[in-house]
Amino acid sequence: MTTVASESYFQQNARQIQGGIKVSSEDVNVYYSEKHALKHVNLGINANEVTALIGPSGCGKSTYLRCLNRMNDLIEGARVTGKILLDGQDIYDRELDVVQLRARVGMVFQKPNPFPKSIFDNVAYGPRIHGLASTQSELEEIVLTSLEKAGLYNEVKDRMTEPGTGLSGGQQQRLCIARAIAVSPEVILMDEPCSALDPIATAKVEELIDELRENYTIVIVTHSMQQAARVSQRTAFFHLGDLIEYGDTEQIFTNPQHKLTQGYITGRFG
């Protein structure tokens, strides 16, 4: 296998839209059959920032996250109204292919979920199905670069053919991040990515999130307020399906405007 020679692939594909709004939501509602899970959410997510979604269990933050790459489509009886625009394009447009959307909006899940395949195949899967590499050496380069970006390359370089499921929990989660960025998405959604990890693995992933911000727009759902404070630039607080407050992380944590936000971040409920 070749070593990582250049970053050209990622340089070509990195879409740097400094400061602009990457994803905007207009009056988004989600219903699970009868249940109104997310109510009239208006939210703009900035490019190249980490936006944290916080709130007590069942508040709708994961529901909102899963709207952004239409993972809610998979849930029987789920219905989404309103508009979600990715670079100004409605992702719920009938014309839009959900496969294409998910190539642009990647996802990292709560539980590390590598495929029961080799480490290499895990990372190579996305580029393979999207036809991102025309030759084996191109594919190898994408895989190695992705692993390097996910900070995993040095730990796994000698065991690329071993199963991804044999790694430790933290390594598995970073493998999943490498797998997500191998497709070179614009937005990465993370659904409580550290909740199954120990503090050391968590620190590594958080560090990684901070590095990735340079090239990607990141939305992260977390139950840990410290984590939200550490990694995010913007924070949105949800409660019972409503977006209660949204603003700069610093402001949310030091000077919350809403009573509920204040109660939650000071640990009085939730």
Partner: protein, 436 residues
Amino acid sequence: MTDTQMAQAVPMTGIAEKVGAHLKRRHAAEQRFKAYGIASIILAVTFLAVLMTSIIGRGASAFVQSEMQLTVSFDGSVIDPDGTHTRAVLNAADYAALVRTSITSLFPETVDNRAAKRELMSLVSTGAEEVIRKMVINDPTLIGQTRTLWVPVAASVDQMIKGHMSRSAENGGQFSDRQLGWIDAMTAKGLIKTHFNTWLWTQGDSRQPELAGLWGAVVGSFFSLVITLLLSFPLGVATAIYLEEFAGENRWTDLIEVNINNLAAVPSIVFGLLALEMFLNVFGLPRSAPFVGGLALTLVSLPTIIIASRVALKAVPPWIREAALGLGASRLQMVIHHVLPLAMPGILTGTIIGMARAVGESAPLLMIGMVAFIVDIPATPMDPSTALPVQIYLWAASPERAFVERTSAAIIVLLLFLTCMNAGAIYLRKKFERRW
């Protein structure tokens, strides 16, 4: 309630005693349950042991066969007086005469005694003529030469030698003292010996037990099963994938699901009737053909395969699907690349259960005519044939004593067949099994 209040309300010692008393009951219940389990396993193993000993005890002797050594001179004036060597002449020649000449030469006292000659001839199977006929047809240059060959003895002689039939006439023996004398004389001279029963493994069915073989049924079963596997595996798996991964939940899919579950419980003879009506009467496919048998058995095994495959697909953890879809895989890619490989062990288990049901099935095959008396070994799936379970049924219904052991032998072969299939399935399952 605070801790102190709690302690006052229920004294600790009381709790410990209650738990202790309850614990005894729990242990007793566990011990009882264990005992039930062990008892049922012992019972099951006993039944299995009885079954196996009775089948093997009865059937093992069918794998050997008494044969008689004859020195036959291939007399040209008997076989082919005109020397034409045409197949028709060779086929129709009086080979019984050669056998008669050969066997009477062993006992010269019978030469001028027609009754004795007939009695002597009844000791050797008519298969002897077949053996000689085949030899001559395969190699006409044998005419004029003399060869020593082993031919099967009559079934009754074989049974007596194996001890399944009594020697003495008082106890139901079939032989006169004269015949017994000949048999003993030949045995003493080493002219009657038991050999491995090649007829059982190479021949089709026959009215003569000593000539009857299983090979026709084995080939018939094999063809049927290949057809069944080729049809029911892809159809069943595709149906399961569609229902589990693609079809939404609505009234139609519910209806289909209920129907498939019911089909799994339908008596197989009903599928036989369906096959008779559809495949034979409507489509006009040939009667007794393993191809049609395979179609009928496909109907029998499909519901089992579909249900097992759906369960296996359902058991694949949802996060595998999410991971694939989250990367932008289409539903089909998700299924083919991730879900199906993980479900494969379960699907194969279900398939083998379905196939095992199919291989032991006789009722649907009776309906489509695979119960006919067929001597020839089928060369293609369209040739008439029987199948192993049907052959067992046919032999079990035959009155000759020699068919009793052959029935058990056929059961042993069927069980071996099943064991091989299961072993293959276990191998495949292990091969596909992946941890996650």
